[in-house]
């Protein structure tokens, strides 16, 4: 992956909440068409990483690049328009809109006439959403809402999809389904950067990963390297 121009790059990023130093000199690269997993325990700075990409938190130091474009200092709207689609933590579907309207909201930044094709594409990826297109999103199960959140993000035709804990609150079977879909989406050409607590599942589908601890990247490498590292095995896979 090294020879490729990275799609997303963090260069020595530092972020703060007030005086609280969260991300400390963090660098990531996510190459085009890769799946990259970001692992870390609670409070390590995973969600802050996602917020920093989206411009919800601005770095105090360092820079963030999306392809050739520098995206730190830009508004969320601009960043989304440049091709970053978030699947936020806790899904955040619009509860009182129908499934179909939620999907249409995902295509908000687009002005082309191929939105219906993409809706059909999401439906073929998640047949369950097609069955429930007129149902209010808030009345669906957690797994269905997660599918909808991913489908909504796909509607933006993103270059980079960032997922914040897609397995949160899902049963093991549903988690597997969601991860299968992430692989499928990646195969269709979308780059994936995901935050995940479920290290084993995440590293199984990722090509590379980073391990974050109290705001610092303490380990990075290919998924295989991470899976076989003692540190990851002890801290995340429960082995002694």
């Amino acid at each position: 992956m090294d020879e490729k121009q990275p799609l997303l790059e963090f260069r020595d990023v530092d972020t703060f909440y007030g005086s609280l130093h969260i991300l400390k000199d963090v660098s990531y690269t996510v190459g085009e068409h890769e799946i990259v997993a970001l692992l870390g325990s609670n409070g390590a700075g995973k969600t802050t990483t996602m917020k920093t990409i989206l411009g919800l938190v601005q770095p105090r130091d360092g820079s963030i690049h999306l392809g050739d474009t520098r995206i730190d200092g830009r508004s969320t709207r601009e960043i989304v328009t440049l091709g970053v689609a978030p699947v936020p933590e806790g899904r955040r579907v619009f509860p009182k809109l129908t499934v179909l309207d939620n999907l249409k909201m995902g295509a908000w930044t687009r002005k082309d006439r191929e939105i219906q094709q993409d809706i059909d594409r999401v439906y073929s990826l998640f047949p369950r959403l097609a069955e429930r297109k007129n149902q209010l999103a808030g009345t669906m199960s957690g797994g269905e809402q997660q599918m909808l959140a991913i489908g909504r993000a796909l509607m933006a035709r993103p270059r980079l999809m960032i997922l914040d804990e897609p397995s949160m609150g899902l049963s093991p079977i549903l988690t597997e389904r969601v991860f299968d879909t992430i692989v499928e989406i990646n195969k269709q050409g979308t780059t994936i950067f995901m935050v995940e607590q479920n290290a084993y599942m995440a590293l199984n589908i990722a090509s590379r990963g980073y391990v974050l601890q109290t705001g610092r990247v303490i380990l990075s490498g290919t998924a295989q390297e991470l899976l076989s590292s003692d540190m990851v095995r002890k801290a995340y896979l429960g082995e002694t």
Binding site: T76, F94, K96, T98, M105, W108, R128, S141
Partner: protein
């Protein structure tokens, strides 16, 4: 333009036949209303039209965008004063004089044609909406409500204090506590069979004018609701963070809701100013803001027909129905007074009961009752085709069963 027109006709054709018929019936009845009603009834109906316009406008802010505005009367005041200042003898221009169909300027004051004032009053109100909204719309919920409450207080106060000999040393802008009188009526209309002469003794032309403005506003608001902008309002109302993640500019979108909501109160203000020919700062106090908000909530937040019904109900309740109730109580007292003791004592008490001064209390009781019985409003927002598919539960069961058989198969 053509595409927009097609969208409008499509929306019409998508509406079920029964609904189309019902809407048509309501419009026809509304046009025939003055034929059956005396002039007092028509006058009350015109008052209701003004309030329906205001409620429709506030519904954009509160219902669509989910921003609680407690000072909406400020924009009503701005619309009314725009009309009053630009279509009365208030601003006398002594040096020059100019006369034309659309604008007359001279020692007799500035007189802008009513039909020019229709877009102008909306634009001025929308401008103030942006002016008030731009620095404050980053606030949310309760905090925004307090700020709007402040604007609702500021505007009438400023108007009250910008009269003759104000302490700021400014010229007489608003005529202060003396109010502005002699606001122009719309020009007379002679179109084929239609002859409308706008006079104070005949409310019918006012009623028809108001009705046309209401109908056009309703069409515009329906189109707004179903537009890209309308969807972004709903998205922000539902989940601000998710809306931002979809690429919506939160503050800018809220600002459009504020400005467009204000624009419709500009229509209301214009109609009210020219109908009463008189504008005073105390027509726009806090109670007016609350009354309009009550119309929106009682009718059904976010529901266009609901808000219209809410506006009509409250306007009539405050204008006429409570007076009618008072006369019922008094005539009941008259009847009972003729009866034997102790009924006659009760009758005498009812005869002199000051029902009219208890209006606010009765009004309050009715509101509490309606909200308890119909908490979502008289005509809640209809979600389009939101019913569950009847077989949804079954598919869920099947899918889970299938999942588990796959699992056991693997093991």
């Amino acid at each position: 333009m053509a595409a927009r027109w097609h969208a409008l006709t499509d929306a019409y054709h998508d509406t079920p036949l029964l609904r189309r018929f019902a809407v048509l019936l309501v419009v026809v009845l509304a046009f025939l209303f003055p034929v059956f009603m005396g002039s007092v009834g028509v006058d009350d109906a015109t008052f209701a039209e003004v309030y329906v316009l205001l409620a429709l406008g506030l519904n954009i802010v509160v219902g669509f965008a989910g921003l609680l505005d407690l000072g909406y009367a400020a924009f009503f005041a701005i619309g009314a004063y725009t009309a009053a200042l630009l279509a009365s003898s208030h601003f006398a221009v002594n040096r020059t004089s100019f006369h034309s169909l659309l604008l007359t300027v001279g020692p007799g004051g500035i007189h802008v044609n009513f039909f020019v004032l229709i877009p102008l009053s909306a634009l001025v109100a929308a401008f103030f909406g942006i002016l008030f909204g731009a620095p404050t719309l980053r606030l949310r919920g309760d905090y925004l409500a307090i700020v709007t409450l402040g604007f609702g207080e500021i505007v009438p106060k400023v108007v009250e204090n910008l009269g003759d000999g104000n302490s700021l040393g400014l010229p007489n802008i608003t005529n202060g506590v003396n109010s502005i009188t002699g606001v122009d009526s719309p020009p007379n209309i002679d179109l084929g069979p239609i002859h409308w002469t706008f006079q104070t003794n005949d409310p019918r032309p006012w009623y028809y004018l108001g009705l046309i403005i209401v109908i056009i506003s309703v069409i515009i608001i329906y189109r707004l609701r179903d537009s890209r902008l309308g969807r972004s309002w709903v998205a922000i109302r539902e989940d601000e963070i998710a809306a931002a993640h979809a690429g919506i500019n939160i503050t800018g979108t809220r600002l459009t809701a504020f400005a467009l909501g204000a624009a419709f109160s500009g229509f209301g203000g214009l109609l009210e100013a020219s109908r009463l020919a008189n504008v005073s700062y105390d027509q726009f106090l806090f109670t007016v803001s609350v009354t309009i908000l009550t119309m929106v909530i009682l009718g059904g937040i976010g529901s266009i027909p609901g808000v219209i019904v809410g506006g009509i109900v409250i306007a009539y309740m405050t204008q006429t129905w409570l007076t009618t109730v008072a006369s019922w109580v008094h005539s009941l007292g008259d009847g009972l007074h003729k009866g034997p003791e102790p009924v006659s004592t009760i009758g005498a008490w009812l005869q002199s009961l000051p029902v009219t001064s208890a209006k606010p209390m009765i009004f309050g009781i009715i509101l509490v009752g309606i909200m308890l019985l119909r908490p979502a409003g008289l005509w809640p927002e209809q979600r389009r085709a939101r019913e569950l598919h009847p077989d949804t539960e079954k598919t869920l069961e099947e899918e889970q069963a299938e999942l588990y058989t796959v699992r056991t198969g693997e093991i």
